[in-house]
């Protein structure tokens, strides 16, 4: 059961975050943080298809995560979802067309090894 939930969490988190990044990059840099401007930005983003799909995927991920927390410890739940780092960095390069320098690959690899050590 916990591995089914982790599978759901990993798939929906990865999809959600890549869609979110795609949507936010299309929106462009947010520069104005006055309350009115934030409201307007949220109103614009609420009509952004990438953001809508991202929120849907992340809602699935959130409720699966709540379910996981009831049957597993936080120290298992949080690190087990770190698999998403690998998937998302690969998708950042090939789908979002980011320039993933060797420094970022090295950093991401260290983080993944570290997360594995913390969780095992």
């Amino acid at each position: 059961m916990r591995f089914l939930l982790i599978g759901i969490i990993v798939a929906s988190t990865t999809a959600g975050e890549v869609l979110q990044a795609a949507g936010m990059r299309r929106h462009g840099e947010i520069r104005d943080f006055r309350p009115g401007a934030i409201r307007r930005a949220i109103a614009v983003l609420a009509r952004n298809r990438f953001v809508i799909a991202a929120v849907a995927a992340m809602a699935v991920s959130f409720f699966a995560y709540l379910g996981l927390l009831t049957i597993a410890d936080l120290s298992f739940a949080v690190p087990a979802t770190a698999v998403t780092y690998v998937l998302e960095t690969v998708l950042a390069k090939y789908v979002l067309k980011e320039h993933v320098s060797w420094l970022r690959w090295a950093g991401a690899s260290l983080v993944i090894c570290g997360v594995a050590l913390v969780s095992l």
Partner: protein, 139 residues
């Protein structure tokens, strides 16, 4: 251009800090407030009104909004490793507030995460300098 660079870096750091801490404490309050089991689908909704869970959810909303703002200018492949420093704080929160043990292996993992975060945050600009639709930064 260097001024623009510094502005973006400062803004990135500021948002990364909020993203990390809202996530760490959001997780902590969620775990603290969750009952041992969720018996029915309805309970997935009603549990949201439990005070600790509600606080956790509120922090997760802050986390999501600040993270979205951060992603509006910073690369996903930059944000991911940099915000991973949250794992370190989760371990520390576990030790301080929940009396969890941090073994040698965990300290080693924490060291690797910190090294990875330092490598990415110190070594590369947060933004890929390729032309993006509507970005209008005039590269």
């Amino acid at each position: 251009m260097t001024h623009e660079h510094a502005r973006l870096r400062l803004k990135t750091w500021l948002f990364a800090v909020v993203v990390v801490f809202s996530n760490v404490f959001g997780n902590f309050f969620l775990k603290r407030g969750m009952p041992p089991a969720l018996a029915s689908p309805l309970q997935y909704i009603t549990v949201l009104f439990h005070p600790w869970v509600a606080l956790g959810v509120l922090l997760m909303v802050v986390w999501m909004l600040t993270r979205m703002a951060l992603l509006s200018w910073a690369d996903l492949s930059y944000v991911l490793p940099v915000t991973a420093v949250g794992y370190v704080f989760v371990a520390i929160v576990g030790k301080v507030l929940l009396n969890e043990q941090i073994t040698m292996q965990r300290w080693a993992g924490i060291g690797l995460i910190v090294a990875g975060v330092a490598l990415v945050s110190g070594g590369s600009a947060p933004q890929t300098a390729h032309p993006r639709p509507q970005a209008g930064t005039g590269q």
